[in-house]
């Protein structure tokens, strides 16, 4: 069996896409990967809404912008997010990055993707681990897209609160009853428009792993 560690460790969240469309056969492969995610009680709560209509896609981008921009405007105005980006030494560059945050542009990029997959889950009994199952499917989507040389980014912002999620549900004609479907997130997908400019560093395993019990960093 092949080791997929290379796929996992080379994946990045890609937010810039070419305008070229994603062929149907690749979309099918991505959906197939999602379908095979682990699922509690084999419930398979997921449903996938494939969106290619540019007008709808643009509206989804706007929903993301509103959610992220709403908290980032407040946190900037209270002097909070400046601390998070203090390590960017160039003050002009730092302010540019902060502006991308507080204007919500950071979550608007799905509006320019050629393809969005909305991941929702059936909550009706006997549903079990719906949210966790959906996250596993989302990860499979991102990994399969990357393995096909596509760029993808998992975005939660348009589903972050009930009101906003309902707007997206209405846009995609998903039933909006509180007990019907959980809108977990969307994935924006497209052909990568250049490499990611600022890869985020990962913590080392020594910071993350405990052996046999919490806090024990020494391997026996």
């Amino acid at each position: 069996m092949g080791d997929i560690l290379d796929v996992i460790t080379t994946r990045r969240s890609i937010r810039r896409y070419k305008t070229d469309l994603v062929p149907d056969e690749l979309i099918d492969k991505i959906l197939e990967a999602a379908r095979w995610a682990p699922t509690g009680e084999n419930y398979q709560p997921w449903r996938f809404i494939v969106v290619r209509n540019p007008e709808i896609i643009k509206k989804i981008g706007t929903l993301g912008k509103i959610i992220t921009g709403s908290w980032a405007t407040a946190d900037y105005s209270l002097g909070r997010i400046q601390e998070r980006f203090a390590k960017i030494e160039d003050p002009v560059r730092r302010e540019e990055v902060l502006k991308v945050m507080y204007t919500g542009q950071v979550s608007e990029f799905p509006g320019k993707a050629p393809l969005i997959i909305a991941v929702i889950g059936d909550l009706k009994p006997p549903s079990a681990d719906v949210a966790y199952d959906l996250c596993a499917a989302l990860e499979n989507i991102c990994l399969e897209a990357h393995s096909l040389d596509l760029g993808a980014c998992w975005v939660h912002a348009p589903a972050a609160n009930i009101r906003r999620a309902n707007k997206l549900k209405e846009l995609l004609k998903i039933p909006t009853g509180i007990g019907d479907y959980k809108l977990m997130a969307i994935v924006a997908i497209g052909w990568t428009d250049g490499p990611r400019q600022h890869p985020r560093p990962k913590k080392s395993l020594s910071e993350l792993v405990y052996w046999e019990e919490f806090g024990n960093t020494r391997r026996p």
Partner: protein
């Protein structure tokens, strides 16, 4: 049934739900609890054509029905920053329990009610509760809520630390 006992029981239940939601989700829990409390305000005939009208009339209904004893507010920061001081709220024991159990309280039915009316009646785009400080000693909460009249308000930053508390 004794009203004090009943309120204490309901606040304990509310606090446990708030804590459970936090345990499940971490920080994003704050975005999930924004509808808690809105049923009450939707049952009231809140009318008004301006932000101040709606906020004022919500406060009147909340105080008149004994949910809180006193609510004062200041609006600033280009009309986005709503600072509230809520005194004698019936949910204060729930917020206090959450705080004492080691979680920063994040859910406020009072602010949820005001935001609900701003969105549903004046067509506000969205809102975000940026801060909630509980002071059980003085029996009051200080809140900072960002309210966005329209999408163009997103990104209109200013210094909110200079806006006085109500």
């Amino acid at each position: 049934m004794d009203k004090k006992f009943l309120l204490s029981y309901l606040n304990d239940s509310l606090a446990l739900y708030e804590e459970t939601l936090w345990h499940e989700l971490g920080g994003i829990a704050g975005a999930k609890g924004d509808m808690v409390g809105v049923s009450f305000i939707r049952s009231q005939n809140i009318i008004g054509n301006t932000t101040e009208d709606i906020i004022g009339n919500c406060i009147k209904a909340i105080v008149k029905n004994g949910i809180a004893e006193e609510i004062k507010y200041v609006l600033g920061g280009k009309g986005i920053c709503l600072k509230l001081r809520v005194k004698g709220c019936c949910h204060l024991p729930a917020a206090t329990k959450v705080k004492n159990d080691g979680i920063k309280p994040y859910m406020c039915p009072i602010v949820n009610m005001i935001v609900d009316r701003l969105i549903e009646q004046l067509g506000y785009e969205t809102a975000y509760v940026a801060d909630l400080e509980v002071d059980e000693g003085s029996k009051q909460c200080q809140l900072i809520c960002a309210i966005y009249e329209n999408i163009d308000k997103i990104g209109q930053v200013s210094d909110w630390t200079k806006i006085p508390n109500p």
